[in-house]
């Protein structure tokens, strides 16, 4: 079992005969029926309900949102290259683009999701997306709000790459 699937699956809590999805805090609680999966995950530690990446993802998000208003040039160092380019193309330079975006300061974090090299942090008033690079996690999109009740429609983000 790949490590990302293993640690992701370590957050599964078993309740029989119910399919559902509910997110609470930093963990994903998923109610499923699939008795054979018990054998697959028999060796996993079910106490490790947050992946190894969630603390860094959370820290980068909070640091970025904290700097976006006060020191946008420093915040730009926490953005993915394509996002920096997009802001520079639209506003002349990255820092100006971040100022124009008027991102909200970090407020309560509701959920953190990590899958392979992608992550999402849902805060009370916005959503942030990140990607893993060799230098660490970087923000790819921020200030995102839901554009539609149809979850096939992407979030609308004032700060994003292509």
């Amino acid at each position: 079992m790949p490590s990302d699937a293993a640690t992701d699956f370590a957050c599964v809590h078993w309740e029989p005969l119910v399919f559902g999805w509910r997110r609470v805090g930093y963990a994903h609680h998923v109610r499923v029926t699939c008795p054979a999966l018990v054998a697959v995950v028999a060796g996993l530690s079910l106490t490790a309900c947050s992946t190894a990446d969630e603390p860094e993802v959370t820290a980068v998000t909070q640091r970025f949102l904290g700097l976006a208003g006060s020191d946008p040039a420093a915040a730009c160092t926490l953005l993915a290259p394509r996002t920096v380019e997009r802001l520079a193309d639209d506003a002349g330079d990255c820092a100006a683009g971040l100022r124009d975006a008027r991102l909200r300061a970090p407020d309560g974090i509701r959920t953190v999701s990590v899958a392979i090299d992608s992550a999402q942090v849902v805060l009370s008033g916005q959503v942030v997306f990140l990607a893993r690079f060799d230098t660490g996690w970087l923000v790819t999109a921020a200030g995102c709000t839901r554009a539609s009740s149809d979850d096939a429609v992407p979030y609308r983000c004032p700060v994003e790459g292509d």
Binding site: P2, F19, W21, V32, A36, A115, A131, F133
Partner: protein, 232 residues
């Protein structure tokens, strides 16, 4: 290398060449899948301005695992269904089928169990009770369990891979329940299942009319089409 050792290696090859060759082919094709899969993954990453990854990282990721497992589960489903359904279903003239009239579990004498077991029969075939019962279904049980486990593992890894894509697309990730009820899981599953059923069905029919001299999967070249097995 001593003469005895060479003889041992030769004998091992002569007795196990089928397993050895298919094992090597499996390794070659898995390596090839890893190389091509990583190339595709990195190409996508370059296109959208994300980080390319190493081979080690790729082959230990759910992205690689789901591509592997969606194929493996369907192969074991194919074998499970094939083993099970050929007990009762027949195809007249096919080397892949029992003869019409021979459907069913077979008698103890035909199956060499209990008092009909040979001295060199597997031990549990000579025993009675649950041991004989379990051993009598061991092939189907193992194939079925491997199918279920690999299908469940496909679901777990597929959800992670799908969520990576969803978050790249600035969409919410989904839970396992939503994933197994959703299009990506069933698209991966059914595209593999249909090809496995096609393969079995094709083989059952082609084996009626076509031959490959020397293959145990083929009837003898001169055997009539309407003769079902080479035992006739």
């Amino acid at each position: 290398m001593s003469t005895g050792h060479r003889g041992g290696v030769k004998a091992a090859w002569q007795h196990n060449s089928l397993t050895i060759v298919f094992g090597v082919l499996l390794l070659v094709f898995v390596v090839g899948q890893a190389i091509s899969g990583l190339a595709e993954y990195d190409e996508t990453a370059r296109t959208i301005g994300l980080q390319q990854i190493s081979m080690l990282r790729y082959v230990t990721s759910s992205s690689f695992a789901v591509d592997l497992l969606e194929n493996w589960q369907s192969e074991y489903l194919q074998f499970t269904l094939y083993i099970l359904l050929t007990i009762w279903l027949v195809q007249r003239g096919s080397s892949e089928s029992k003869k019409p009239g021979d459907a069913g579990r077979g008698s103890d004498e035909e199956q060499l169990v209990g008092r009909f077991a040979r001295p060199d029969s597997p031990r549990w075939a000579q025993r009675g009770g649950w041991r004989r019962s379990v051993y009598s279904h061991s092939l189907l049980l193992v194939m079925g369990v491997v199918f279920v486990l690999s299908w469940c593992a496909q679901a777990v890894t597929g959800r992670v891979a799908e969520n990576q894509q969803r978050m790249r697309d600035l969409r919410d990730p989904i839970g396992l329940g939503d994933y197994v009820a959703g299009p990506d899981f069933w698209s991966r599953t059914l595209q593999n299942w249909q090809s496995e059923m096609l393969a079995i069905g094709s083989m059952a029919v082609f084996a009626i009319y076509l031959r490959e001299r020397g293959s145990p999967e083929s009837k003898p070249v001169g055997m009539p089409h309407d003769v079902t097995t080479s035992d006739d």
